[in-house]
């Protein structure tokens, strides 16, 4: 079994139904507020300023609290108080299922223990898989940056499920965004996105809805892989690598007879959506 979110684990094991999971996610969306939204509720921030903080959050690596402080909207003491409020009201998926009557407290405790045991084993397996990979430092950097940027752009929780050698083919229904990296190592990093994650990512990049079949969306996907590839070169520099990215490119599903090429493939989830990354080691 691959690594997954707790809600999906319960669903896959027949503990809850899909309706229950969707209802619990909905409860979370209603109850869990960002720090900027809580600040609005507390009269510390205007809604327009909170909207600006949300927009900045999507394109930066800082938390809402840090952004509020750095933008001079809130004091560190305010942020500390708001974090306490946020922690007190925040509900996780298990609590939301209990609140909805889909799970008892006792069942939640048991299921969480089982999940955490499996999850810990999965993490150890993932870690071991990473360490046994060819060019593991490169693969790890590309993987971590992919997860970080997809989470930032999509606004969804992201989790790596598997990382293993693959035939590198692009699956039907996915679009591939790729970037060749050259220098004292040569590799290609790709991001394979299906709908609706592709549309979400394109909107997250540009800030407005875009036609998923149009050039703007394709461009946004290319820019996303460009961030991953460029940032990977930067991150790998202290490890002794001298690398530079080439211009990114995209391709659609190439049909069942597409050429296979060995890669290291990471399968991951952003919320409910699956996406994949590949690192092809060797010359383009």
């Amino acid at each position: 079994m691959s690594s997954m979110f707790f809600g999906h684990y319960l669903l896959e094991n027949g503990v809850i139904g899909r309706e229950a999971l969707l209802d619990a996610i909905d409860r979370q969306r209603t109850t869990n507020r960002s720090l900027a939204d809580i600040a609005v509720g507390e009269g510390l921030l205007e809604q327009t300023k909170a909207d600006q903080i949300h927009a900045m959050f999507r394109v930066s690596n800082s938390s809402h609290g840090d952004l509020c402080i750095s933008e001079g909207r809130l004091s560190p003491a305010d942020v500390e108080r708001l974090i306490r409020i946020q922690s007190a009201e925040w509900i996780r998926i298990g609590a939301a299922l209990v609140e909805g009557g889909y799970l008892s407290d006792a069942a939640l405790t048991t299921q969480l223990e089982n999940f955490n045991t499996i999850e810990a084993a999965q993490q150890r397996t993932l870690e071991s898989e990473f360490n046994h990979l060819e060019e593991s430092v490169i693969v790890r950097a590309c993987t971590e940056l992919t997860l970080r940027h997809v989470a930032r752009i999509s606004g969804a929780p992201v989790k790596l499920q598997r990382i293993d050698p693959s035939d590198g083919i692009l699956k039907q229904g996915f679009r591939r965004f790729a970037q060749n990296i050259v220098g004292d190592r040569e590799f290609c990093v790709t991001l394979d996105l299906g709908e609706p994650l592709f549309s979400i990512a394109a909107k997250g990049m540009i800030g407005v809805d875009v036609d998923p079949t149009g050039d703007a969306a394709r461009d946004a996907g290319c820019e996303l892989i460009n961030l991953i590839g460029g940032n990977a070169c930067t991150r790998l520099e202290p490890e002794g690598y001298t690398l530079r990215p080439e211009p990114p490119f995209s391709c659609d599903y190439l049909g069942p007879s597409q050429e296979k090429r060995p890669s290291i493939r990471g399968a991951a989830m952003a919320g409910d959506d699956i996406f994949e990354l590949n690192v092809f080691i060797g010359p383009p």
């Binding site: 600006q52 927009a55 900045m56 394109v59 930066s60 690596n61 952004l67 933008e71 940027h149 930032r152 394109a202 990049m205 540009i206 800030g207 050039d215 703007a216 461009d219 946004a220 290319c222 820019e223 460009n226 961030l227 991953i228 590839g229 460029g230 940032n231 070169c233 930067t234 520099e237 001298t242 690398l243 530079r244 990215p245 080439e246 211009p247």
Partner: protein, 130 residues
Amino acid sequence: MTPRTVMTVDDSAAILTIIAAYLEDSEFKVIASERDGRRAVEVFREIRPDIVLLDLIMPGQSGMETLSQILALDPDTCVVMVSSLGTEDAVHQCLSTGARSFLQKPFSRDAFIEFLRNLDEQPGDSRIGP
């Protein structure tokens, strides 16, 4: 106050859109957006913007070649290199060729505008990205 004029050069239409949106209602005005280095040099010759935001990694004519050609036309031009690549080597190469500063993607709107405001005071490596 007269807005400072900006030309953006990036093969990504997404980035051109983002930068134009970021600079809307600011003291900076985008007067040209180009997706090709060669074409950007031609346009620069005509419009002479106050600031050039120039992508480093572009197909065809690279950002470095474009930088050199723009500076050959006007060595005092304020050219800011913009890239997701922020290695010491890349930054050093750009600054030693004559770029005023280096901006690493991604960046937020407010940080970006603040960066442009401080260009005159703090030239050099200004990586505000990750």
